[in-house]
């Protein structure tokens, strides 16, 4: 197996899925974002978005924070340091595959 193909097989599968990759990329540029923002920007359905967010949370890549904005309950999602480093590593790996 060539070096770049080995790199390909070593890609983080949790992040590699396009919908989750979009979510992680969106969250990497902000401190936190709510469900509605992620829904609008990712173009996913509510059900799909919930599933992908749960998957990312299980992997420890994002953290959910339940707060209140006024009297309305509000859920915000934030990238954890583990998620941030996984995302950086993924981008590096991807870059090295395509630059070879």
């Amino acid at each position: 197996m060539s070096g770049s193909l080995q790199n390909l097989s070593g890609l983080d599968r949790v992040i590699h899925e396009p919908a989750r990759l979009t979510l992680v990329a969106l969250l990497s540029s902000v401190a936190s974002a709510d469900f509605l923002f992620l829904l609008k920007e990712s173009g996913l359905t509510k059900g799909n978005l919930s599933v992908h967010l749960s998957r990312l949370e299980e992997a420890g890549y994002i953290k959910t924070e339940k707060t209140f904005r006024g009297k309305i309950p509000h859920t915000e999602y934030r990238l954890t340091p583990k998620g941030k480093s996984a995302f950086d590593q993924y981008r590096k790996s991807l870059g090295s595959i395509f630059n070879k």
Partner: protein, 245 residues
């Protein structure tokens, strides 16, 4: 794939500009400043130099006060209009971003000085720099603002800032050409800078007029851009998001 990731990251960074409110607010701030400067220039009986020093202090106070008011209004507008429609985002301030802001601030201060140095290389004497100030100042300022706005737009994926930057650059050139068409004040050569001649004062006064026009035009450009963005945003998101939608 990397391009897709970059686009997603830029969309998140530029979210604050999605509704046009910031541009409208900045435009209003610019017009208030231009109006204040214009009124102050036309009503003050003080000599130019003391007036300039006093107006600089007043402008700083006005800037800080209106900035605070604008932040509060923006906060309310975002809370009641934008967030219920397209969601809430908390901005991220990292150490590297603080570094970038500082770097840009230093650039913002250094670029006019660099412009002045280049101008002094191109013209023969300090007197020429002074007499041509009403021309090069608006052009330099327009260029600096245009570069900063376009760079910020590229970083956030807000492509309309290319148009806004170009319009501001054109405004700077336009004001410079207008000042040039009126003829330059003839600053006498070999005059010590400490002795302010009437022609030097005229040059400074006309430069301030140029600044006033630049502020006014930039304000109008920003408001126009903000309004177009707001109308488009309102059309795309007419009602707040509900579970049933």
């Amino acid at each position: 794939m990397n391009l897709q990731i970059d686009n997603a990251m830029k969309r998140a960074r530029g979210y604050w500009f999605v509704d046009g409110f910031i541009e409208i607010a900045m435009g209003i701030l610019f017009i208030i400043l231009a109006g204040f400067l214009l009124v102050s220039m036309n009503t003050s009986q003080m000599p130019l130099l003391p007036w300039f020093l006093s107006v600089t202090g007043e402008v700083v106070i006005l800037k800080v006060a209106s900035f605070l008011v604008v932040i509060l209004i923006l906060w309310w507008l975002k809370d009641n209009f934008t967030y219920p429609r397209t969601g809430f985002v908390r901005g991220k301030i990292t150490l590297s971003q603080v570094f970038v802001i500082f770097k840009n601030l230093i650039l913002f201060l250094l670029l006019p000085i660099l412009g002045l140095l280049i101008a002094s290389l191109l013209v023969t004497s300090t007197d020429s720099v002074l007499s041509s100030m009403p021309v090069w100042f608006p052009v330099g300022l327009g260029l600096t603002w245009a570069i900063l706005i376009v760079l910020a737009g590229e970083w956030m994926g807000v492509h309309r800032f290319r148009l806004v930057g170009s319009a501001i650059l054109l405004a700077g050139i336009g004001v410079g050409v207008w000042q040039l068409s009126m003829g330059l004040p003839n600053v006498p050569t070999n005059t010590p800078l400490t002795v302010l001649q009437s022609s030097t004062l005229e040059s400074i006064s006309r430069t301030l007029t140029s600044l006033d026009f630049i502020l006014l035009i930039c304000g109008v450009i920003l408001i126009a851009s903000g309004l177009v963005t707001f109308i488009r945003y309102r059309k795309e998101n007419p009602t707040p998001y509900t579970e049933e939608a």
